[in-house]
Amino acid sequence: MIRIANGQGFWGDWLEAPVRLVEQGPLDYLTLDYLAEITMSIVQKQKQADPNMGYARDFPPLIGRIAKMLKERQVKVIANAGGVNPIACAREVRRLAPSLKVAVVLGDDVYDKLDALLAKGHEMKSMDTGEPLTTIRDQIQSANAYIGAFPLAEALATGADVVITGRSTDTALALAPMVHEYGWKADDFDKLAAGTIAGHIIECGAQSTGGNCQAHWKTIPDFANIGYPIVEAEPDGTFAVTKHKGTGGRVSLDTVKEQLLYELGDPRNYITPDCIADFTSIQLRQEGEDRVRVTGIKGRPATTTAKLSISYLHGYKAIGSLVYSWPDALYKAQVADRIVRERLAQLGLTFDEIYTEYLGVNACHGPAAPAVEQIPEVQLRVGVRGPDKKAVDRFTRELIPLVLNGPPTATGFGDGRPPVREVVAYWPALVPKDLIQTRVEVVE
């Protein structure tokens, strides 16, 4: 049996979680998931500004902090912290933790190959809209293929203490140590599907151990010291989900089911580079306190395509807000919204979208929100998005004047006018799998 934990569900997750996972109980592998779809564009920009950057900057200092414990306890780390510059990330880890052996997985970054791919007739149509990539060619910021577990397992086979990847799938981080330790093959579909589902359960950190859980959440103990998830994986593909003893949170059928359904599409066809996992085959059993056994998982062969994660510039947006108080809080906010829209129209400014919400009334649930009679206050939230930066910037000057020249009792403008932000959008596309060639490099 091997113990695989996840100590980071996204870049920005709790800094103490990975440290405590290594500190507070037995562990073999610590996985850290830093990359969301748009993270690649952020790190790409950082690399353009400084060729030594372009990775998850939280990662090297973390490894520096826990290096001694990792060695003593023989815990290996697998992280998709490399962003668009895994080598630079690895060098910084080596600088801060010289005693650790570091391997990187390369080959996911296809940014420099896009024109060659287009020239060969690969249209890379958006999986969302069906449009060909040429329609946004000039706006592209980054392009990476999702890498599966086998290249990561190859990196573990070098004897590395730390494996760094770019855009690997979240689930591959947990599957890779199982492939490495148990010698699972590319056609062990049921086992690969089981490891993939184990990865899905732990990839969002504490979301499987009681965090963001609706089921009986008021009874979940000690959120402040919540334990992050650990999978105890067996060679036959079955596994248990648990957490370190003495930590807060909960592992129950409820917490695991909620995470299984999180960001799920068609449950019979959960597609990764390694296999297709069938979520309708999963059998769960509460095996003890904070311990759920997972069995029965079935898988099928992977597809012949590789998925690309492409990010591109898509104009600008700004979102501002004002607060109105009782009496007639909502009516005042509605009048203010009409005034803003009229003034924008008078200026001749057009946007792809102007969107208004009333926080405290129905912003989250729309018509499904319960009706309210009298509300003490409401936050008017107006956003615009469009290709013209100047128009978006002009909008940011149209809210605060309402404090003096609109309906009464406007407040909550203390932060001044809202910032104009660049919008980077996500373009998923497919290419034949054999076009993606990965390789492993040990960084000295």
Binding site: A215, K257, L260, L261, E263, S281, I282, C364, P367, V423
Partner: protein, 109 residues
């Protein structure tokens, strides 16, 4: 009798691009058949009204006593494009739990 969904089910929601994904889970797996019968794609569409511009698709996971819904074009463009405060649909699952469903008393035992 009519009961609100939160009496018999919990939920978690997230995003898949501009689609909102809602996992609806029976607390007691015996109540799954109530969810399967009552919480149709059409009823979810009606519950969220103009928030959902596209289709609602439902998938069944009887092994988990759960349904999975995809609400297309429900997040104002999704991800970074969305101007909504809940751009990733994190609260949509909770929103679904206010739906009322019909259940016989014998089914709720």
């Amino acid at each position: 009798m009519r009961i609100p969904l939160h009496k018999i089910a919990h939920a978690r929601s997230g995003d898949k691009g501009d689609a909102s994904n809602i996992g609806l889970i029976a607390y007691d797996e015996r109540h799954y058949k109530i969810l399967e019968r009552e919480v149709t794609a059409a009823r979810v569409q009606e519950h969220f009204g103009n928030m959902v511009k596209g289709d609602v698709v439902r998938y069944e996971l009887p092994n988990l006593g759960a349904l999975n819904f995809l609400l297309y074009e429900a997040l104002g463009g999704g991800g970074t494009l969305s101007l909504r405060v809940d751009a990733q649909g994190k609260t949509m699952g909770a929103g679904l739990l206010s739906m009322e469903v019909e259940a016989a008393e014998s089914e709720l035992q």
